[in-house]
């Protein structure tokens, strides 16, 4: 019996050691905030972000994404410039999901009204294994005549999926 116990504890130690090696390998990856991930069951995540179209002189930095975050930076030089990003969300868990709250808000409300954004409609349900895409369009208002004093604008979007 004592041998069994020693074997179990030695195996545990070995498993933790292997996991520690793995952890230190991936430890530099950022801690993500989002919906709690119940391992193996709930895993709704962003799987891609790409530029769908660019109009005018708009330019962009390569968009980045993690499981729960997508970031993109654009430079719009003149009225009428616009850029469209397509973001793909996939349900890689086993729990079917439905769209909860969707909030897009500007960090400083009212600043830089010439820069406008628009999102396409999101698919309401996302069953296990399904994926959906939506677009975010950023436009420099073609009707604007003033040169804005503020040059940057940050918009934060939160898309929440809950159990269906």
């Amino acid at each position: 019996m004592k041998n069994t116990k020693n074997t179990i504890i030695a195996t545990l130690f070995l498993a933790i050691l292997v996991m520690a090696v793995g952890y230190s390998t991936f430890a530099t990856q950022l801690t993500l905030n989002g919906t709690a991930k119940i391992v193996g069951e709930w895993n709704v995540k962003i799987t891609n972000i790409e530029v769908q179209s660019v109009n005018g002189d708009a330019s962009y930095e390569t968009p980045k994404f993690t499981d729960t975050n997508a970031t993109f930076n654009v430079t719009l030089k003149k009225p009428g410039d616009s850029i469209v990003f397509a973001i793909t969300i996939r349900n890689e868990g086993t729990i079917n999901a439905t769209l909860g709250t969707v909030i897009f808000k500007e960090d400083s409300e009212g600043d830089l009204p010439a820069i406008q954004y628009k999102t396409s409609e999101l698919q309401n349900t996302l069953d296990a294994g399904e994926e959906t895409s939506f677009t975010v369009t950023v436009t420099y208002d073609p009707k604007t005549t003033e040169v804005p004093s503020i040059k940057t604008k940050t918009i934060t979007g939160t898309i929440e999926y809950v159990q269906k």
């Binding site: 090696v21 390998t25 890689e92 868990g93 086993t94």
Partner: protein, 367 residues
């Protein structure tokens, strides 16, 4: 229970294993929401019908059951305490009455039925552990993650290894005491996850380690009790000490202590430390971040990567302190100045060659 009946149950469970694999590969939603709870629900009715007196064992094992409830409660408190370190997140489960009922049927009913089956099938010579592990493996997730080696590794560590450990301890509890212990052991955390609106946002390493250490701890505690019951006074608490060391090691890796290790991937700081070494750094308080002296080796973060380089100059820009860094072996200073918010700590100690497994693993995953 007669052996012929046991064989019949075993045969049904083996058949169900193939159904599990098939539906995990084809229609996981149908499997998870309908097939699995229905199968285990029918099984439970059958078990109760055939073995009405089985649950009477409860009355003879009150002490062990109270013990298990206490252990699980302590575990839950500790698990949620981790939220203070890692942060809390909203639970994806819905909490309206209908969904709570649905989640209990989907998540808890199979646990009760599986553990009852385990308790009924166990004999001195046959434990059927492998069958129960295979029945509970999430083949759908394995298939999804198969092409991503890194995620598959994390999934194995955080889910598959704990599942094996859980099955081992449940088999132990069922064979030595009663399967009611294994039902409590498995249900408490699941119920908490289903009912609570927020959950600790622990990473895969913490989650995997907790779910490996906890069953081992349960095993050691009950084994200790069992030895005491047999009046085996020679039993020493060595296992507890080793487990405590394991827990301390995990805390050290997670950075819960003021010191944290990282593996070195390049030779830019040779000969102070080289590729394959493990560097231990000390975390700094916010007020200390602006007081670091030139010549100190700091660990800082750029994007998703940690860098350990020496400070060669301190610069003040717009009332903010920045540090210019350089690798000892590099000819030129690093191009980008390091802000205080990027700094994770200062170098304390180097353990030669201890980081090679991490380096190899990194290269394997990123080749």
């Amino acid at each position: 229970m007669a052996n012929s009946k046991k064989r019949k149950i075993l045969l049904i469970l083996t058949g169900y294993l193939f159904i599990t694999i098939y539906f995990n590969m084809t229609n996981v939603t149908l499997y998870r929401n309908i097939i699995n709870p229905s199968f285990w629900g029918i099984c439970l009715i059958y078990f109760l019908w055939n073995k009405k007196n089985y649950y009477i064992r409860f009355y003879r094992k009150e002490k062990q059951i109270i013990y298990m409830v206490v252990i699980c409660s302590v575990y839950l408190v500790l698990y949620f305490y981790l939220g203070l370190l890692f942060g809390f997140s909203k639970s994806p489960y819905r909490h309206d009455i209908l969904f709570l009922f649905k989640n209990i049927v989907i998540e808890i009913l199979p646990i009760i039925s599986i553990e009852t089956a385990r308790g009924m099938l166990i004999t001195k010579s046959r434990k059927n552990i492998l069958l129960f592990i295979l029945l509970e493996l999430n083949y759908y997730m394995i298939r999804i993650l198969w092409s991503n080696k890194e995620q598959l590794f994390q999934y194995t560590c955080s889910t598959i290894l704990p599942l094996i450990a859980c099955n081992l301890v449940c088999t132990y509890l069922s064979s030595k005491y009663t399967f009611l212990l294994s039902i409590i052991y498995r249900s408490v955390k699941k119920i908490a996850i289903i009912f609570l609106p927020i959950l600790p946002n622990v990473n895969w390493f913490a989650s995997g380690c907790i779910d490996l250490i906890f069953p081992t701890l349960v095993y050691v505690i009950y084994e200790y009790q069992f030895a005491k019951a047999r009046k085996n006074k020679k039993e020493k608490p060595t296992s507890f000490i080793i487990l405590l060391l394991c827990i301390s090691f995990v805390c050290f890796m997670l950075g819960i202590f003021p010191y944290k290790p990282i593996a070195i991937l390049s030779n830019s700081m040779a000969p102070t430390f080289s590729r394959g070494d493990v560097l231990i750094y000390k975390k700094l308080k916010e007020e200390e971040l602006t007081e670091i002296k030139v010549n100190t080796i700091i660990v800082y973060q750029i994007g998703n990567q940690n860098v350990a380089h020496r400070i060669v100059n301190k610069v003040e820009k717009n009332n903010e302190i920045f540090y210019q860094t350089k690798g000892d072996k590099n000819n030129v200073e690093d191009r980008i100045l390091v802000g205080t918010s990027q700094i994770k700590g200062i170098y304390v100690l180097c353990v030669k060659y201890a980081g090679f497994p991490s380096v190899w693993l990194y290269e394997y995953f990123h080749k």
